[in-house]
């Protein structure tokens, strides 16, 4: 296996080793170099993040409104449907609008996270093919952008809690951790699809459709079906337990699916390292195929 070894004394001091010589893959070494790069690229990531945000808001009239708009519009649709009794919500012990608003906000955070890595890499295409810099900075800055939107969207959730006079519990202090896991899960999925997404446009074309389907396979606007075989959907779908747990932490202050959450969390962390590895390995190949 060939590898790039980045020997860092200064930011860009490196040696390239490559070719067909049979060195055993030192997976752990590669991984630790990736994590170090991730850390070293924080200043660059911050600058890219500031660039994207300032460019975005300088060119926008309504600004942060666009962070609120999608979850609110989705919620309004489902609140209307529910008021006509099209959706059965008998098992929800919250006011339905509160349930939906919190659910869609959390969902939107997840969906943003899935989109972020591919979007960031595609936007960076003009210069990743020309300058060498720690590519992990792109992922890092995508993460920062997502977190920026998270902070803005907290306003919706806080507004809902106040408006519907929901009694918050100490457990809500764990909710930010739940949101972080949701973001991490989304970003990991996002990184995994990025290499193929850079090669073939089919990925970015189909992503909204897939996310739409996943939306309905997740208890965002209704509760989970508990009867077999439909209950399988929620067991396979990794988003469900995290979203349910986070919503529960916000509204009732405890979680009742700890085992399921733990499994997803561990898997997410393992796959996170794998996805970084994939990203590092695939980018030089992508750059070669994408040309100048």
């Amino acid at each position: 296996m060939r590898k790039v070894r980045v020997v860092k004394k200064q930011a860009m001091e490196y040696t390239i080793i490559s070719g067909s010589e049979k060195s055993t893959p030192k997976l752990f070494k590669l991984l630790s170099s990736i994590l170090r790069d991730l850390f070293l690229s924080r200043e660059l990531a911050w600058r890219l993040f500031i660039r994207d945000i300032s460019a975005q808001y300088r060119q926008s009239l309504l600004g942060v409104f666009w962070a609120f708009f999608p979850p609110i519009i989705t919620s309004v649709i489902f609140i209307l449907l529910q008021s006509r009794n099209i959706i059965s919500t008998s098992t929800i012990n919250l006011p339905y609008p509160a349930y939906v608003l919190i659910g869609t906000t959390l969902w939107q955070i997840f969906a943003d996270s899935v989109n972020a890595p591919l979007k960031a890499t595609i936007n960076a295409k003009p210069y990743i093919v020309k300058i060498f810099f720690p590519r992990e900075a792109l992922i890092f800055s995508a993460f920062l952008s997502v977190m920026f939107n998270v902070v803005i969207r907290m306003i919706i959730i806080i507004g809902v809690l106040i408006f519907y006079k929901i009694q918050i519990q100490w457990g809500i202090l764990l909710a930010p951790f739940g949101i972080f896991v949701l973001v991490l899960l989304g970003i990991v999925i996002g990184i995994l699809i990025t290499p193929i997404g850079m090669l073939y446009s089919d990925v970015s074309t189909s992503l909204p459709i897939v996310l739409q389907l996943l939306f309905f396979a997740t208890p965002v606007v209704y509760t989970l079906p508990e009867k077999f075989p439909f209950s399988l959907i929620s067991i396979i779908n990794p988003v469900s337990p995290i979203l349910i747990a986070t919503r529960n932490l916000i509204t009732v202050g405890y979680i009742d699916n700890l085992l399921h959450v733990t499994i997803v969390l561990i898997l997410t962390i393992v796959v996170f390292f794998f996805s970084l590895l994939l990203y590092r390995i695939s980018l030089p190949i992508l750059i070669e195929k994408l040309g100048t």
Binding site: E13, T15, G19, S54, R58, K130, F133
Partner: protein
């Protein structure tokens, strides 16, 4: 000798001609990299070719090296590998220092943001910290000459201004190794001169530089040593003058295939061959400035031809015409022709400056307009030497200093 700053050891890189297949191979390669399986590095798959093949050389600290070769010779691929953008398929590259590529001027510029903001973004992408950028900010701005536009969004800059800003950022962050790809021809003449001076400054500071350019004048001006590439291989590595000669010869070789591209005419008399001879009447391709050159045009007639006009046109390779020589313009009556024979043109002093020259031959009817036969690129020669003087001709002259 000191330790080389760049060591390239048997580096090869393959590319794929077909887009669809190239993407598919990309997918396969990522897959096999991921599971750690040995990739098939050494063999070419369908539609693949070697863009760079078994290239080895070293660069010492402070050395300036030119890379020359025609389009597709592998110069840019090699530079991209040195820049760490793509990985070689086989071989090793060792670089002991900070590399910076002057390839992407203004990379990562966001058009909505101001020049000031973009300087920081661009420099960060090149791996410089905020502190380092702050330290050089004023120099960058004054070099670019854009201080009054600094707080304007870059989208309202002219394209020349964008490139100037990009060059200024890149030129003031001092790397150990600088890779330059065809960017010395940006901006207006004054800015170009400034760029050349800046490169010279970096050279003096001991920065190692690799330059890719089609402008041989630039190369011979800046690089004592050059490497000529042809079809992904090194065909010469040494002093720039010889590298340029060899490059020109290799250019001519690829040019020969266009020989019969334009051929035609009424055909009563045809051009058999155009020979280029030295003063001893031997065939020769490489000459020095001011050598005696004889051009011999062999003809063949099918019938009696009266007063044809012979014409030889000299071109700089791939470029403009230098001169045309005609018997009618020179007032030479040619008479009747029958059978086979040849016509000679003699240049006592072939005073064209070092370059590659191609020759077209034409035989006109006596009206000087309709042609019997024409042969483009009938032959070629190279005038040897570096390009200390940028221009076309050496004019015979003498000095008198009072």
């Amino acid at each position: 000798m000191t330790k080389p700053i760049i060591r390239i050891d048997k580096v090869s890189k393959k590319f794929c001609r077909s887009m669809r297949r190239s993407l598919y191979y990309g997918l396969l390669d990522m897959g096999s990299e991921l599971i750690g399986r040995e990739r098939n590095y050494l063999n070419l798959r369908k539609d693949e070719f070697w863009a760079v093949k078994d290239i080895s050389f070293e660069v010492q600290p402070g050395e300036t090296v030119g890379l020359i070769g025609h389009n597709g010779a592998g110069k840019t691929s090699l530079l991209r590998m040195l820049g760490g953008l793509i990985l070689p398929d086989t071989g090793k590259i060792n670089i002991n220092g900070r590399v910076q590529a002057l390839i992407a001027l203004g990379a990562g510029f966001n058009p909505v943001l101001t020049g000031r903001e973009n300087i920081y973004i661009n420099a960060s992408l090149m791996g410089f910290s905020k502190k380092e950028i702050n330290k050089r900010f004023d120099e960058i701005v004054s070099f670019s000459g854009l201080s009054e536009f600094l707080d304007m969004p870059v989208q309202s800059y002219s394209s020349g201004m964008v490139v100037r800003l990009g060059f200024s950022v890149a030129a003031f962050l001092e790397p150990d190794v600088l890779l330059i790809d065809e960017v010395l021809s940006v901006g207006d003449l004054a800015f170009r001169t400034k760029c050349q001076v800046r490169i010279q400054e970096l050279k003096n500071k001991g920065v190692s530089i690799i330059i890719v350019s089609h402008n041989l004048h630039t190369i011979s001006h800046l690089c004592p040593r050059s490497i000529a590439l042809e079809k992904g291989k090194v065909i010469y590595d040494g002093d720039t003058e010889s590298a340029i000669d060899i490059y020109r010869l290799s250019l001519l070789k690829t040019y020969e295939q266009y020989n019969d591209f334009i051929r035609g005419g009424t055909g009563e008399i045809t051009i058999q061959e155009l020979e280029i001879l030295n003063e001893n009447e031997e065939k020769q391709t490489i000459f020095d400035v001011g050598d005696k050159v004889k051009i011999r045009l062999y003809y063949h007639t099918n019938t009696l031809v009266k007063n044809p006009v012979f014409n030889v046109v000299i071109h700089i390779l791939n470029s403009h015409q230098v001169t045309g020589i005609r018997t009618d313009v020179d007032g030479i009556p040619t008479g009747d022709f029958e059978g086979d024979g040849y016509v000679d043109i003699e240049f006592q002093k072939f005073n064209l400056l070092p370059n590659a020259y191609t020759f077209d031959a034409v035989i006109f009817h006596s009206d000087g307009y309709t042609f019997y036969d024409r042969k483009n690129n009938a032959n070629h020669l190279v005038v040897r030497g570096g390009n200390e003087i940028n221009g076309i001709a050496y004019l015979d002259h003498s000095w008198k200093i009072n």
